[in-house]
């Protein structure tokens, strides 16, 4: 791509706007903050409740548990979704939770997203297993959204290809809304963003056939969230 083409393209825009080319413009410091009243005065406990309520309304069960209760909660997820095989992120947070051990103890097939498998093998596994498990770095109270920073041992397709998805996150990471999440993304720019960030809110859905709601047309149709009391 020659820069000449880019310059011609941008010069044309400047021309049409009837002024010389501009470069390095930064947005103004917006005075309007029309979102503040949506969470003003809410305690962290309020936000956690709101997060849970929003997900319940989207067919997504949420369990709020102590880390010590993880095995029994996993048990109910596995049973509820009829899970025999799983794929999950290779990440310190899951090592700390001893996730792989807990699953193996229950006789579940486990695949960790790491270089012990080739990318093609991993992808094949992800397309075949019953459940994908990923860690949510942020939770948004206003919408019931979980935010996933993918990359390395945190495979994108873990939350995408299996028919069911389990997201685990700490209740400390619940923030009021998208506003606080994008601030975190913004602050990571200098160090480099991961190649992909997902904001996920409940199960995959469509209304494309006569406006009739159906779940799981492409992404997971079943989603479960575990919120850790930290």
């Amino acid at each position: 791509m020659s820069m000449e083409k880019q310059d011609a393209f941008l010069n044309k825009i400047a021309n049409r706007l009837g002024r010389p080319r501009r470069s390095g413009v930064r947005p103004p410091d917006w005075e309007a903050k029309p979102y503040v009243h949506l969470y003003e005065g809410k305690t962290q406990e309020d936000l956690i409740q709101q997060f849970m309520d929003n997900l319940e309304a989207l067919n997504t069960p949420v369990d709020r548990i102590y880390r010590s209760e993880i095995t029994s909660t996993l048990e109910s997820v596995l049973q509820g979704f009829g899970v025999k095989s799983t794929i999950f992120w290779d990440d310190q947070v899951f090592h700390d939770l001893k996730l792989a051990d807990h699953l193996r103890e229950k006789g579940i097939k486990t695949v960790e997203w790491n270089t012990t498998g080739s990318p093609m093998e991993l992808r094949r596994e992800a397309a075949q297993v019953d459940l994908g498990i990923a860690w949510g770095d942020i939770g948004l109270a206003e919408t019931g959204t979980v935010v996933l920073f993918n990359g390395g041992g945190r495979g994108r397709v873990v939350s995408l290809l299996p028919p069911a998805f389990l997201c685990i996150l700490s209740e400390k990471s619940i923030v009021p809304r998208l506003t606080q999440a994008v601030q975190q993304v913004h602050s990571k720019i200098p160090d480099g963003l991961p190649s992909c960030i997902n904001f996920i809110t409940g199960p995959s859905r469509t209304g494309d056939i006569e406006m009739d709601l159906a779940l799981g047309v492409h992404g997971p149709g079943k989603v479960y969230v575990i919120l850790l009391k930290d």
Binding site: M1, L17, L38, R123, G152, V185, C196, I197, I209, V217
Partner: protein, 470 residues
């Protein structure tokens, strides 16, 4: 595609005679509209949001050259490729060029309205590349060989019976008309396509200048699959899709989903910030971003500039009484409803779309709901003005207005005309009502009666009676 070949009035007639549309369009409109109203109430200060998001979009458009430059620089810094296309042809050349270079056999696509502007699928298929649309609605209309009829719900004009027939043909077995069965067939079939495709082509809801990110919004997850599984990802981006930073992205996304379906957020909002990094075990090796003008720059600096603020939510379609009756295809262009009536003549000229600015009652409902405050109905009036100035009005209308101008500026002629109106039109009247008028009058009397003009005009009455009462 074939509907565009028909003249406007025939497209409208066809739509009005379609019993499926008559039910499906109001159903979709009412559902989306109710969702939007509920979402706006929940937010409370929706007007403040509209002002703010409008200001963000305005600022961006006014500084578009700077933000596109910043975006392109950041994309390249992280290993992505940026292409610029002035025209549809150039965009097609770039994309078919990449397909050739990669030896692509199959392309999966997630929804992209800009790709419709250049009939991309046709061009790829002509060079032997199979193209599969993966948004459920887009997949349905691809199988039916049709075009989208709504920005958000492209296949609202198809019944479940038609969908079942289309899918059954692909499946080679009879499928039921149950939504769940049809969806699970689509999941299975399209999953196969995703896993085997060589290239994924997506649109671009927003491009974040400060980080060179492409943001895609979807409920189904097909946009994620399209941009994750194939080795090459091509983004087709209308040049005005830019936001300065993530802070501004928050505002436009919050407004887009609420205005489109009433959802507080869509199921998947995905930020694609670079091609696969070295440590990543999935994601595309190559990301190509094609920044497309195709008629947008000529809107800059004109009375229509605000139309470029559009974030493609479809709210204006969902409140439009005209769209309600004729649906999307009657508009004949890629974009339908009020925004289509504004954009199509700008993109493709009055020659092809001179009727669209008149396909509006000017009720202004569109302007009232637009999340970025585009004065849609005012722009339609602007179009009408421009059409008159450029001579696009029919000869009979020109003659009529010329005559009207002459008569009303000459009092004696006017008096005479008013006196003659009663007797002249009396020929056609029965019991003081005209039910079937000739010529242009027929346009009125086809749908309603016209009272015969009164025997005595107001001016006559005033001369005789009114003065004394004053």
């Amino acid at each position: 595609m074939s509907t565009q070949r028909l003249p406007f009035h025939e497209r409208v007639e066809k739509a009005l005679a379609d019993p499926v549309l008559k039910k499906a369009v109001p159903l979709a409109q009412d559902k989306f509209r109710a969702g939007r109203i509920a979402a706006a109430e929940l937010v409370g200060n929706f007007e403040e949001w509209r002002d703010h998001v409008s200001a963000i979009r305005m600022h961006t458009i006014e500084n578009l050259d700077s933000y596109i430059e910043q975006f392109a620089t950041n994309v390249r810094k992280k290993g992505g490729h940026v292409h610029f296309a002035d025209t549809a042809d150039e965009a097609v050349q770039i994309i078919t060029g990449i397909a050739k270079e990669k030896g692509a056999k199959t392309v999966v696509k997630s929804k992209s309205m800009v790709s419709e502007e250049m009939h991309l699928n046709k061009h790829l298929e002509e060079m032997g590349v199979r193209v599969v649309e993966t948004d459920l609605g887009e997949y349905i209309i691809q199988l039916a060989d049709e075009t989208p009829s709504h920005l958000i719900a492209p296949a609202i004009h198809k019944t479940r019976k038609e969908v079942s027939e289309l899918f059954s043909e692909v499946a080679g077995r009879q499928l039921s008309q149950e939504t769940t069965e049809l969806c699970s067939f689509a999941r299975e079939k399209l999953r196969e396509e995703f896993l085997n495709a060589d290239i994924g082509i997506s649109g671009c809801n927003f491009a974040v200048a400060e980080s060179g990110s492409v943001v895609l919004i979807s409920n189904e997850g097909n946009a994620r699959l399209t941009t994750t599984l194939p080795k090459t990802h091509i983004v087709m981006m209308g040049m005005e899709r830019i936001v300065p930073g993530w802070q501004e992205l928050d505002m436009v996304v919050s407004m887009l989903t609420r205005s489109a379906t009433g959802q507080k957020i869509s199921v998947y909002v995905t930020g694609i910030n670079s091609p696969r990094k070295e440590a990543d075990l999935d994601g595309p090796d190559d990301v190509h971003i094609v920044i497309i003008d195709n008629g947008r720059s000529k809107i800059l600096g004109t009375a229509y500039q605000e139309a470029l603020k559009c974030i493609r939510c479809g709210a204006c379609l969902n409140v439009c009484p005209v769209y309600r009756h004729i649906g999307g295809h009657a508009y004949g262009g890629v974009y339908s409803g009020p925004i289509g009536a504004v954009l199509s003549p700008l993109f493709d000229g009055y020659e092809e779309f001179k009727e669209l600015p008149y396909a509006s009652s000017l009720c202004g409902a569109c302007t009232e709901v637009c999340p970025v405050k585009i004065p849609l109905h005012e722009l339609l009036i602007e179009h009408r003005k421009d059409e008159v100035e450029q001579g696009f009005t029919p000869a009979s209308e020109k003659l009529a207005f010329k005559g009207f101008g002459y008569v009303t500026s000459h009092p004696t002629v006017y008096d005479l005309a008013v006196k003659m109106a009663h007797t002249g039109m009396g020929v056609m009247a029965k019991d003081g009502v005209i039910t079937s008028g000739p010529g242009m009058l027929g346009g009125w009397t086809d749908v309603r009666d016209l009272p015969q003009p009164a025997k005595q005009s107001f001016r006559d009455w005033w001369k005789k009676e009114g003065k004394d009462r004053g």
